[in-house]
Amino acid sequence: MASSHRISRRDFVKVVTATLSGIMGAALGIPIISYLIDPALNVQSSEAWIPLGPLEGFSIGSPKSFSFTRSNVNGWEKTVNSYGGFILRKSGGELLALSNRCTHLSCSVNWDEAKKWYACPCHDAQFDADGEVLAGPPPHALDQFETKVEEGNLFVHFPAVKAHEG
């Protein structure tokens, strides 16, 4: 092809065929691949600040339980999960929001006011008021929710995080 910019008829047909095939391939391929991978691209963030009402509602000194639900939508299926925990307002004004999910096998722990500990009904585990393990099989302390107070209302941050992290 030293002579000029002219291309032969045969090459022209080849280029046109390849170009049209490419366009048609993309017109079919892009929708099909998008269709298949679409759910993988829609990552929903489950993080949120959960309002628990006025801070005055929580008495100082002993833990008070709270609960809320979060819904999860996957395609046409919606699942609603319940979560709960305890708010402990300490006399110094400090706030502690513990998850009620036992770190052993996720049973719900209950506050025992007489013994001043959280008891897990499944395997006899106990946690102290700060969530530390007193007895039983749990590998670590109860998870904690981050808290904030805005205009007198208490919020906890979902999801709960491992205590003493970082």
Binding site: P31, S34, L36, D38, G75, W76, E77
Partner: protein, 219 residues
């Protein structure tokens, strides 16, 4: 490299023979009505491909069938396109197969030696209608449900065997979850398998006998 691969495959598959058999056949003078068989084949393949993609999200259960289709239409990227192609392609396929059949009838192409091609083609037409019938229920909306109630009732008025046919079609006395799952099974496995096999036979017969030519002045 590519040449070596081609030579290796050609030696074993025989591309030349395939080309001669499939594409280099003697054809009668062109007529657009003679392209409808290929159009039917194309539509069958398109319905197959879009149908396979629809099963990625569709769920054949009364609880989820409608919601899963709503999700395909509104939730998934290009779901509307895939389902739209399948929906309109279905109507088009019945139409094209029927006109193909009419063409064969009016050009008398069903005569010797092509009677078997015609018989197989008639079964293919019935199977195509069966695909339309079973596919119509799958969206499981009001129209789909009542259309299936009415259409299965038609089977129920056959003298003698009617009540049995009705229960066999519905998988019980009511249009239910069992009806939906057996229609789904028929729609994606049984009927397509029968269609694919008979299309193979139909195409073999066409290659064996060649296409029928219209008579010219000398005939």
């Amino acid at each position: 490299m590519m040449k070596n691969i081609y030579a290796w495959l050609d030696e074993r598959l025989g591309f030349d023979d395939m080309y001669k058999m499939l594409l280099d056949r003697p054809e009668p003078h062109g007529n657009w009505w003679n392209t409808l068989g290929s159009a039917s084949l194309f539509l069958f393949i398109m319905q197959g491909v879009t149908g396979i993609f629809l099963t990625v999200y569709y769920t054949p259960s009364p609880d989820h069938a409608y919601d899963s289709i709503q999700y395909i239409m509104n939730g998934v990227a290009f779901g509307w396109l895939i389902r739209g192609m399948h929906h309109w392609g279905a109507s088009l396929m019945v139409l094209v197969v029927f006109i193909h059949m009419l063409r064969t009838f009016f050009s008398a192409s069903y005569k010797y030696p092509r009677e078997l091609t015609w018989i197989v083609g008639s079964v293919l037409f019935l199977l195509t209608l069966g695909m339309g019938f079973t596919g119509y229920l799958l969206p499981f909306n009001q129209r789909a449900y009542w259309a299936t109630v009415v259409a299965t009732n038609i089977g129920g008025v056959v003298p003698g065997a009617g009540p049995f046919i009705l229960r066999a079609l519905r998988g019980g006395s009511d249009v239910s979850a069992l009806t939906l799952s057996r229609f789904f099974s028929a729609h994606i496995w049984m009927l397509p398998a029968a269609l694919a096999g008979l299309i193979g036979l139909h195409l073999y017969l066409i290659m064996r006998h060649g296409e029928s030519a219209y008579p010219d002045k000398d005939d």
